[in-house]
C-alpha cells in the first residue's frame, strides 16, 4: 500500500534513523556484548541445572525414556526447561486456563477405537504425544478461550533436534492422510495443509475435520520452529485463535 500516510511515516522514520546514526557513529557493539554476555551465561547455567534435574528424573523413571531415534543419545532437556519457562511468560491472545484442554478428534466425532485407528493416532499426535524416539515430552500449556465456550488446547514439545521435529510433522501428515481414508466411511472430511505463518519462522501442518453429526470444524495445527513444536487443537465452535496462539508463543521465544 503506497499512500500519503505511508510516505509521511516512512519519511519521519528515515529522518529519525539518520539523526540517530549521525549521533552514534562510534563502536557500540561491545557495550551490548557486555550486557548480553553475562545474561547468556546465566541462562546456560540455569539450563544446565535444569538438564541435571531432568536427568535425575529420568533415572527415577518418572520422566520416561527419551532416546533419540538412532538410540544413541538422550533428548534435549534444555528445550523442555525453556518451554516450562515460556508457559509462565507468554502472552496468549485470550484467557488461558492452565489446567484446560480441548476435546480430541475421537471424542468430538465419537469414533470407535477400531473404526479409524489412524484418526486415533492423529488425535495423540495433535497433542504432541508419542514418537518418544524423537525426543522431548509434551508439555500441556492449557486451554485458550473465554466465556465457557469451546476452547483451543495448546501443547508444546522440544524435540531432540530440528530434524526430529520435522520428522514428527511428517508423522502427523501420514496419520492425517490415513485418517482421511478411514473416516470417509463415517462421513467425515479430513483436509490436510502444509502451512507457514508469515509472522514467525518455521513450518506447520494444519488438519481440519468436518462433517458427520457435529457442526463446525475440529482443527489441529502443529507448527515447528527448529527443534520446538507447538500444537493447537481447536474444538468445533471455538474462536479460531490457532494462528494468533502460534505467533504469540514463538514471539515470546524470541523476546
Amino acid at each position: 500500500m503506497t499512500d500519503k500516510l505511508t510516505g509521511m511515516l516512512l519519511d519521519s522514520m528515515d529522518k529519525e534513523s539518520r539523526r540517530f546514526a549521525h549521533e552514534h557513529q562510534g563502536e557500540e557493539t561491545s557495550l551490548y556484548e557486555r550486557a548480553i554476555g553475562p545474561r547468556r551465561r546465566n541462562r546456560r547455567l540455569a539450563q544446565a541445572a535444569g538438564g541435571l534435574a531432568a536427568a535425575g528424573a529420568v533415572a527415577l523413571g518418572s520422566y520416561g525414556l527419551m532416546l533419540s531415534h538412532d538410540g544413541g543419545g538422550t533428548a534435549d532437556p534444555v528445550s523442555s526447561l525453556e518451554i516450562e519457562q515460556r508457559v509462565r511468560d507468554w502472552d496468549p491472545p485470550d484467557a488461558l486456563q492452565a489446567d484446560g484442554s480441548a476435546a480430541g478428534l475421537v471424542e468430538t466425532w465419537g469414533l470407535g477405537p477400531d473404526e479409524a485407528p489412524a484418526c486415533a493416532t492423529l488425535d495423540g499426535l495433535a497433542r504432541l504425544e508419542g514418537q518418544s524416539g524423537l525426543g522431548g515430552e509434551p508439555v500441556a500449556v492449557g486451554a485458550v478461550g473465554s466465556g465457557g465456550a469451546a476452547v483451543s488446547g495448546v501443547t508444546a514439545r522440544g524435540f531432540a533436534s530440528a530434524e526430529d521435529a520435522r520428522a514428527y510433522l511428517a508423522e502427523i501428515d501420514r496419520a492425517a492422510t490415513g485418517c482421511q481414508e478411514q473416516a470417509a466411511s463415517s462421513g467425515l472430511e479430513v483436509d490436510v495443509k502444509d502451512l507457514g505463518i508469515g509472522a514467525v519462522p518455521g513450518d506447520g501442518v494444519r488438519v481440519d475435520v468436518t462433517g458427520g453429526t457435529t457442526d463446525g470444524t475440529w482443527r489441529a495445527w502443529v507448527h515447528v520452529d527448529g527443534d520446538e513444536a507447538l500444537a493447537v487443537v481447536t474444538e468445533p465452535g471455538a474462536r479460531d485463535l490457532a494462528a494468533q496462539i502460534i505467533v504469540a508463543w514463538f514471539t515470546a521465544a524470541a523476546g
Partner: protein, 181 residues
Amino acid sequence: MKAWHGVLDTLVRERRSRLVGYAYLLAGDRPTAEDLVHDAIIRTFSRARRLDDVNRAEAYVRRTILTQFLNRRSSQAVARSKQHLLVERDAAPADEHAGEHDAVVLALRELPARQRACVVLRHVEQLTTAETAARMGVSEGAVKRYLHDAIAHMRETLGDLGFADPAEDRVTAVIPRRGAR
C-alpha cells in the same frame, strides 16, 4: 567468536538506526524509542538460541519492540535505570522535544497505543489485517476498528491521506507451502 557476536555487530552497525526510527513512530519521542531498541536488542540476544542471521534477528527485535511498547514495560524510568549498562554517549543526550515539529508523529502521539501500533504495522511494515492481528494478539475485527478510528483522527489532523479504505485486506496471513490435498 560465536555466531551471535557477528550478528549482533552487524545489527548494531547496520540496522539499529532503522530500528530506532521504527520505535520512534511507536513511542513518539526519542528517549523512549532509544530505550525500547536497546532493551529489545538485549532481550533478544540474551534469550534466543538461533541467532545466525541478521534479518531474522532484526525481525525478532522489531517484534520485541512492539511487545514492549504495548506492554508498557519500557517506561522511561525503568529503561533509564539500565542505561549505564548500555550506551556511553559521546554526543549530548537526545533532545526529548526534537522532532515534535513532525506533523505525522504529533498526530500519531495523540492516538492510543494499540491504534498507533496498528497504523505502524499496516502502513510501515505493510502487514495485512490478519498479520497485524496475529502480531498484536487481537482479532482482525479489532484491528479494523483501531485502524478506522486512527485514520479518522489522523485525517482530522493531517487532512487527506490519499487512500479510501484503511481496513482493506490484501492477502491472508497463512502461506501454503506445499499446497492442499
